[in-house]
Subunit: 148 residues, 2 copies
DNA sequence: TTCCTTATTGCAAGTATTTGCAATAAGGAA
DNA sequence: TTCCTTATTGCAAATACTTGCAATAAGGAA
């Protein structure tokens, strides 16, 4: 089954109605290689049909996220970005200084996930988590600055 | 030394100018018990002086965050929230459904921090990280829903 | 197939946040 | 102390995102 029909089937079972707009939005994120913004999803949908509105795109993406069918990442600077879940899990390391994005191995999060589950009964979305910090390059240049 | 003067000293050393606005904003977040929004910081500053502008508050808070002197958390729903660092570290668990906030023990993150440092040279801000997911209560009610 | 209920949409207005630019003022140099 | 450079501010406009509400249409019932 294609990722799109899996997603729409899931929604249908939860009682959501399947509209043209929703199908287009799901197709767009499912077929995108990268995480993309709401604005980009809107542009893509508009290529195929004029039946789309930016507010609907925002609402649908947030709904997919709430249902656990898409991931949502705040990359700082108004960069909120979505992706379908068939992308393999990974950690986004976002540099506070240069905004660079580094992908890290999600294995590092397994013990955390287990602890949050047993201790708090909380099912964490760790497939696509964003972690802010300072990358190696920016650390170096800030050290240089201090030496001067 | 008070948290405020530590912060301003740090900024001065980095070459930032210390303005009345910055002092007021630093005082506000340093004395706040809770994480607070830019709007709340602005309201607090305004109580003491009319010399303040919302844009300046946003700029200053982001600057403090970039310098690693404050933390910044996206709690979803346009809830971006700041705090000074003297608050003990903790994890925010944010429920995707009910937006409830649970504080978790930051100890769970130590091994992750080390791994990101050794593997990627990335210094992660894990003192006040937000993790999205589904809380125990919402998981229960969604299971009930399925049974019906 | 037609009808009905109500979830979903589009629109326009609202809130949250960022940005360009001219005016101001911090803090080092004279 | 005064002057000068330029970082910082305030303003107003731009962008990003959300929301209320009337109009539309999905999908189950008849």
């Amino acid at each position: 089954m294609s990722p799109c029909s899996t997603l729409t089937e899931h929604l249908r079972q939860k009682g959501y109605r399947i509209t043209l707009q929703r199908e287009m939005i799901i197709q767009t994120i499912a077929h995108s290689e990268q995480h993309i913004s709401a604005e980009e999803v809107f542009a893509e949908v508009r290529k195929h049909t004029p039946a789309a509105n930016l507010a609907t795109v925002y609402r649908t993406l947030d709904m997919l996220w709430e249902e656990g069918l898409a991931c949502r990442n705040d990359l700082g600077e108004c960069r909120i970005v979505y992706a379908a879940l068939q992308h393999g899990p990974h950690i986004h390391l976002v540099c506070r200084y240069c905004n660079r994005l580094i992908d890290a191995d999600p294995q590092a999060l397994e013990s955390l996930r287990e602890e949050l589950d047993t201790e708090y009964g909380f099912t964490a979305d760790l497939q696509h988590i964003s972690i802010f910090g300072v990358c190696a390059g920016c650390q170096l240049s800030s050290e240089k600055l201090k030496e001067e």
